[in-house]
């Protein structure tokens, strides 16, 4: 720089002054102060408050998120518990239902068995009765036939009393035969 000054001086040009020039001093202080007040009021102030607001908002959001998370976890736990309870309840209901169904099944089967037995017994009885009736009929017709045959053979008619005693005797014989 000093070389420059020397050169400039030698060449007869303007010298580079390291002494402040008043024409640069007052505009720089004026410009600075004006800029300072304008920026503080219209730029730095709003920016600063926005930064603070943002920090507060973020902090609040984080806190809220944390709260929500805790709440969500609590609710999840609650739901899990409720679910487990419901599951237990459902299991019980199903178990009970099964028991009821099983007992009903047993009952129905027993009833069916009983009914079947009753039907079979009734059928038996009916058969027995019919058999008896058939046997009775047979006995009557055998008696009649026997009387007729006997009448023909003997050729004479017996009295009614004789008939009866004779038939009874005969039937008894036939019955004893049948019982065997």
């Amino acid at each position: 720089m000093f070389v420059g000054v020397a050169y400039a001086a030698e060449e007869g040009g303007s010298s580079i002054s390291v002494v402040p020039v008043l024409a640069d001093i007052w505009p720089s202080i004026l410009a600075f102060l004006l800029l300072f007040f304008l920026l503080r009021k219209f730029a730095f102030g709003p920016i600063s408050s926005t930064l603070d607001k943002r920090a507060a908002t973020i902090k609040e959001s984080l806190e809220k998120a944390e709260q929500t998370k805790v709440e969500a976890e609590r609710m999840l736990e609650e739901y899990k518990q409720q679910m487990a309870e419901a599951r237990g309840e459902a299991g019980k209901v199903i178990e009970q239902g099964r028991k009821v169904a099983e007992s009903m099944k047993a009952e129905i089967v027993a009833q069916a068995n009983k009914d079947a037995e009753a039907i079979v017994a009734k059928a038996h009885e009916a058969m027995e009765a019919e058999k008896k009736a058939a046997i009775g009929e047979l006995q009557a017709s055998v008696a009649d036939l026997s009387v007729a045959v006997a009448g023909k053979l003997i050729g004479e008619k017996l009295s009614t009393a004789d008939h009866a005693s004779l038939i009874e005797k005969y039937v008894a014989e036939v019955g004893s035969l049948n019982d065997n």
Partner: protein, 268 residues
């Protein structure tokens, strides 16, 4: 190397403080109320800085967006710098440090435009701001600690607690030393910024001249000179960009350190 001296002289002339209306003239004494070439670009920097922040501040919202983000990031950077160097109350001084930083930065950046000058390339500008910083931080020191308290802080507590022998011999000596140190602060602030910005232009000018002179030469020498000049021009331009930011930062951080020291003077 004919013409080097003349070209350098003309370059130096270009970087002199001159009336803006007559930058080619040979004016030795600049009238106090004339618009100088440096003041002209200072005003341009003023307008750009103001416009940038006024526009950006409108875009500043809770949800970061666009240019607002840039202004925000810049301001937050300065605010953190203040808090780091001054403690919790530092944010209060962020508008002052911010104005210094951004105004200097915009001035320096304008100086990167070919043909333009950085407002901070004039000692008149930097010395004014440095003196202002000196007044501001000392005023804060006196206000915070009281006149006696602040002056007492110039002598370290270790010396103040010595016996009378040490206190009255070493004490005044250190006090004077500190006082000189304080008065050197605005001087170094002013010269550091000015010299960096001024020299940046001169260095670019020199390599520019080198290139032009090389182009006028014939043969390998000319090509070598031009190539070397161009290479250095590119490197130095990159360096100048770096310096533009660094010097704004240095001015801002030193100011915040000085204010921080004044705020906490009684603690030392």
């Amino acid at each position: 190397m004919d013409g080097f001296a003349e070209k350098l002289a003309s370059k130096l002339h270009h970087y002199s403080v001159l009336p803006f209306s007559d930058v080619n003239g040979t004016v030795d004494a600049v009238d106090p109320f004339v618009l100088t070439n440096y003041t002209f670009f200072l005003i341009i920097a003023f307008v750009i800085t103001l416009a940038f922040f006024l526009v950006a501040a409108r875009r500043v919202s809770i949800v970061p967006q666009g240019i607002g983000q840039v202004a925000e990031a810049g301001y937050e950077f300065i605010r953190n710098l203040c808090v780091d160097n001054m403690g919790k109350d530092g944010a209060k001084y962020a508008p002052f440090i911010g104005t210094l930083f951004f105004f200097i930065l915009f001035n320096n950046v304008i100086g990167l435009v070919p043909g333009a000058l950085p407002g901070t390339g004039s000692i008149g500008v930097t010395a004014t701001w440095a003196l202002m910083v000196f007044i501001v931080y000392n005023a804060i020191g006196f206000k915070k600690n009281g006149v006696i308290g602040y002056l007492k802080s110039f002598v370290p507590s270790g010396v103040r607690e010595m016996g009378p022998g040490g206190r009255f011999t070493l004490g005044p000596f250190i006090f004077v030393l500190e006082l000189v140190g304080h008065f050197l602060r605005p001087l170094t602030l002013a010269v550091r910024l000015y010299a960096n910005m001024f020299a940046g232009g001169i260095i670019l000018g020199i390599f520019g001249i080198f290139m032009i002179l090389g182009a006028q030469q014939l043969g390998a020498l000319g090509i070598t000179m031009t190539g070397f000049g161009f290479m250095m021009l590119v490197i130095m331009y990159g360096f100048k960009v770096f310096v533009a930011f660094i010097q704004a930062y240095v001015f801002a951080i030193l100011t915040s350190v000085y204010i921080g020291g004044a705020l906490h003077a009684s603690e030392h």
